[in-house]
């Protein structure tokens, strides 16, 4: 024993003055003082003091700040979804759109950014930090590192919004319309017609810095725990912390690629570096998929935390949970390429990624089996269905449902049918809403009372929140699934106006409203709890007991005691692990069998995209050159010609596609249902191939661009025009065959009775291409009109950028209603391509044109058959700091089918 009188002088005992080097650095002191000067006056206001917990320790204050920030971004992100879907709803019910294309697509981008990073990433950081510090019992350090992280993540979301102008005229349309992220080269100056402003890239740097700083901050505390942990079993990490540690390890593995990808883009943008978009996209998707798993670990960690606590039993198998955590870390960074299955990547890379994508089923299988087994033996009377338990149940279900739809898109063969369709959004939102969000809420309901020291004020509000989240979420994923099964693309607001599509869009809107309103109940409950909730007594309670105390405050009539009960295992570890081994072994055998069965089709698909197949004699050789927002089509073979957005072939003829692109990734997508789906992605800088047989039924088949390429994405749709091998027949066979189930087929109308009317999107009758007109040979007549009322910001025909609708219409009036675009009727000729039959040199607005011509049996194009150059430049504000948007848009065209 040490004699205190002989102990050396100590600063702690006050024997010595505090050395200067042990004082906080001057910057920290200045920041501390500044924070105190801001906080102390605010703390005198009860509102701020209660809401921001200004009288509490810094860790609690910052955590609360992050939670508030997450909820703010969550609500705004929800409104973003409403912004997009309100337009889809309007298009379904009235055929009109009121927002600009820029606003519509930026709302989707910002929805993704705000939800994934502002809400979910920030929520994860707040909850995981709080749980780790408390569960490990370490003293939080490095306050300003955490503050910096919080500041940066919130600043990054604002930076990613892009610039907006207050003067000379308000304009917020430079919000990013790229996607929840960007797929190179979209957005890069010199590489793309859509150029994003530099704030976008700064935002990504800020976001990566924020999350990396937080991961470093977490690692410091894990290290602190590691150095002081007790020996033996007591010194092992609690099971939920295994997954929090996995998240912390995955963050640098995930965010480093986005730094590389962004830096490459910035270097290309400003320094003219050479760009390989396909390689850049591979790097990007190491981030793009990794972030989903980082966020998926919210429900995983939540369930590993809460189910043992609520059931008062340890996890079924700690060692298998450890294996699952390790497998998540090892496999997650390797999955990105499964987003690029349909590009011209080498076969070995796509196949290897398919295998790895199946292997990650194993840690998920371990997780959900172990969690289920953990509650086995828990009596009904020992379990309380409070809100924490209900959200845990929802997260359990959502993770299983969403997780099990993952292998479908990870199977190369079926990815052809699913890629970029709304099925992908169904899969993704099942994971995000019903898994990640539900898991986040489960933890939030458990720890929020501990954070603010108050019990939940209303179990009723919590129940309404749960019910609305569950019902709204289920409606959303169900509608996405049904729309995806029909073949509808994601991000497309100009979808085919058929009854089923319209119906699901209306229901989808209802689902979004329900879930959004439900969140308001949570916000209200949280605010009232922080402000007026009764104090929560947790003194003397264990961490688990405190969680149960918080959870029971969401239950009207709690009966289950909150106290820990000693657990004496009756079932040996070996027996429990034997069960786990049987389960995991079964899954591994199944994975091998499924992979073996799926391999031939996987190779067939990939090799078909990466190399030109031997086309049968008599094939049509089609060279596609994609750019925003159309294909240039050059054909050789039985049919010679050059077309815009039209691929022409004979019935049953093999079509050999050789496709390249500039400006943005393009996709040839023909969602047949009675024939194999055609779906091939074309990344600039690479060549993609496809060999498929044209339908044996002549007709006009819709072929939209499946890959978002900018604000005029909706108009970017081509047609596969299948000519009869003999004399041109009528279209009755095409119609009776349901157009082979391609939902994008333009409707067939009798020419004489057709009344074609241009709409606000520059389309005829809300259809792209316009309706297929049918007539018998002889004198063919039809009428069309582009009314002045259809001219506005979204009608590319008038290149005047202004949110004032009168500006575009005034331009038309000023030009005597004449626009310089040739419109007419063109014959599709097998040897000469397009032959003008009846062409007017200009397009007259607000004038009903009665076309009448004597036409022989054959297939013709009508309307404006070439793209129109468009430059989005409001008040000359497009420049290096805002970005710019150019494009070649076409939509006011269709096929005239003249039968015998």
């Amino acid at each position: 024993m040490t004699d205190p009188t002989n102990a050396p002088p100590s600063v702690d005992r006050g024997d010595l003055p505090e050395p200067v080097f042990q004082k906080p650095p001057i910057l920290t002191r200045v920041l501390d003082e500044a924070e105190a000067k801001i906080r102390e006056p605010l703390a005198r206001w009860k509102f701020f003091q209660r809401l921001f917990l200004l009288d509490r320790d810094w860790m609690t204050r910052i955590t609360m700040l992050m939670l508030i920030g997450a909820m703010v971004w969550g609500v705004i992100g929800g409104l973003d979804a409403t912004g997009f879907q309100s337009q889809a709803y309007a298009y379904s019910t009235t055929g009109t759109i009121t927002l600009t294309n820029q606003e519509i697509y930026s709302s989707v981008t910002l929805h993704g950014l705000r939800m994934l990073f502002g809400f979910a990433q920030q929520l994860e950081m707040a909850l995981f930090g709080l749980l780790a510090i408390n569960a490990m019992g370490v003293k939080p350090r490095h306050k300003w590192a955490l503050y910096t992280s919080v500041g940066l993540i919130n600043a990054s979301i604002m930076l990613l919004e892009g610039p907006f102008y207050l003067w000379p005229t308000f304009n917020d349309n430079y919000f990013p319309s790229l996607g929840w992220t960007f797929t190179s080269p979209l957005g890069i100056q010199g590489q793309s017609a859509y150029v994003i402003g530099p704030l976008w890239f700064i935002g990504w740097y800020a976001l990566a810095a924020a999350v990396l700083i937080w991961a470093g901050w977490m690692l410091v505390h894990f290290r602190d725990w590691f150095r002081t942990r007790p020996a033996g079993a007591a010194g092992r990490l609690p099971v939920s912390l295994l997954f929090i540690l996995a998240t912390v390890i995955l963050i640098p593995l995930t965010y480093a690629p986005i730094l590389v990808s962004t830096t490459w883009d910035v270097g290309t943008y400003y320094l003219g570096w050479a760009l390989n978009p396909l390689v850049n996209q591979v790097i990007f998707w190491m981030f793009g998929h990794g972030i989903v798993y980082i966020l998926f670990l919210i429900p995983v960690a939540a369930l590993y935390l809460l189910i043992p606590i609520l059931s008062k039993r340890p996890i079924y198998s700690y060692r298998f949970a450890l294996v699952a955590a390790i497998l998540f870390i090892v496999l997650t960074p390797l999955l990105g390429i499964h987003h690029l299955f349909l590009t011209a990547l080498p076969t070995w890379s796509t196949y290897a990624t398919m295998v790895i994508s199946f292997l990650i089923i194993i840690p998920s299988a371990i997780t959900f089996f172990s969690l289920w087994m953990t509650v086995k033996g828990v009596r009904r009377s020992q379990w309380e269905w409070n809100i924490v338990a209900l959200f845990a149940l929802l997260a359990f279900a959502g993770s299983i449902a969403g997780g099990l739809s993952g292998p479908d898109v990870a199977t190369i063969g079926s990815d052809v049918d699913l890629h970029n369709s709304l099925f992908v959004l169904s899969h993704f939102h099942t994971i995000t809403i019903l898994g990640i969000v539900a898991g986040g809420y489960a933890v939030l309901y458990a720890v929020f009372p501990l954070l603010c020291g108050r019990a939940w004020i209303s179990a009723w509000l919590a129940r309404v929140h749960f019910v609305a989240t569950a019902i709204g979420g289920i409606i959303i994923v169900l509608c996405f699934e049904e729309l995806g099964a029909l073949g509808i693309l994601r991000r497309q607001v100009l979808f085919p106006n058929v009854p089923a599509v319209d119906m699901y869009n209306v229901i989808l809107m209802a689902g979004i409203v329900i879930i959004l309103v439900g969140q308001l109940f949570f916000v209200l409950n949280g605010f009232l709890t922080a402000y007026r909730g009764r104090p929560l007594a947790t003194t003397g309670l264990s961490f688990d007991e405190a969680i149960r105390t918080a959870a029971r405050s969401t239950y009207p009539r709690p009966t289950v005691p909150i106290h820990d009960v000693p657990v004496e295992r009756k079932t040996s570890r070996a027996r429990r692990e034997r069960v786990e081994k049987i389960w995991v072994g079964s899954v591994m055998v199944l994975v091998i069998i499924v992979l073996a069965a799926a391999t031939p089709q996987a190779f067939s698909v990939t090799q078909g995209i990466t190399s030109a197949a031997n086309a049968p004699a008599g094939s049509e050789f089609v060279t596609l050159t994609g750019q925003p927002y159309y294909w240039t089509v050059n054909e050789t073979g039985p049919i010679h010609g050059t077309f815009d957005n039209a691929i022409v072939a004979y019935a049953g003829q093999w079509i050999s596609i050789n496709a390249s692109a500039t400006g943005a990734t393009q996709s040839l997508y023909i969602p047949f249902r009675s024939l194999p789906v055609v779906n091939v992605q074309v990344v600039p800088g690479s060549t993609s191939y496809s060999l498929f047989q044209a339908p044996s039924t002549p007709g006009v088949y819709g072929a939209p661009d499946g890959e978002f390429d900018g604000p005029w994405f909706g108009q970017d749709a081509a047609a596969l025009i299948v000519l009869p091998t003999g004399a041109v027949s009528d279209l009755s066979a095409f119609q009776s065959a349901g157009g082979l189930g391609d939902i994008y087929n333009p409707p067939v109308m009798t020419a004489a009775s057709a009344s074609l009317v241009g709409d606000g999107e520059g389309l005829f009758n809300h259809s792209i291409p316009g309706p297929t007109l049918y007539s018998a040979a002889g004198v063919v007549s039809f009428s069309w009109e582009v009314p002045l009322s259809s001219i506005g910001i979204n009608n590319y025909l008038v290149n005047v950028t202004s949110n004032d609708k009168n500006a575009q219409q005034q331009y038309v009036v000023d030009h005597n209603y004449i626009l310089p675009y040739a419109v007419g009727i063109y014959q599709i000729n097998a040897t000469r391509g397009l032959v003008p039959m009846l062409v007017q040199p200009s397009l007259t607005i607000n004038h009903v044109v009665n076309e009448s011509a004597s036409l022989a049996s054959g297939v013709y194009l009508y309307g404006l058959i070439s793209p129109v150059s468009y430059s989005y430049d409001p008040d000359g504000q497009s420049n290096g700091s805002t970005g710019s948007q150019l494009g070649e848009v076409m939509g006011l065209w269709g096929v005239l089918w003249v039968g015998p």
Partner: protein
């Protein structure tokens, strides 16, 4: 007779794994979630490539779910 009274015992009439206990409820929910995942892909069964492209995966998922419930039902409780 002196000394502490023996602890009161109650007949434990509630089965450990009743049809309405948390284990059963989590199981039902897992079945619904798994069923939904299978239904999602069966919506594509009319595609001509379904048999070679999708059926192996969907079949694997269905069998895995069956094994999940079979093993889970027979596994020893977490006691």
């Amino acid at each position: 007779m002196s000394g502490p009274a023996p602890p009161a015992t109650e007949p434990d009439e509630e089965p450990a794994n009743s049809w309405f206990g948390p284990f059963a409820i989590f199981g039902y929910i897992a079945a619904i979630a798994g069923g939904w995942a299978i239904y999602e892909m069966l919506a594509y069964a009319d595609l001509p490539t379904f048999t070679v492209a999708t059926l192996p995966t969907v079949g694997g998922i269905a069998i895995a779910l069956a094994i999940f419930f079979w093993i889970g039902a027979r596994a020893p409780s977490n006691d």
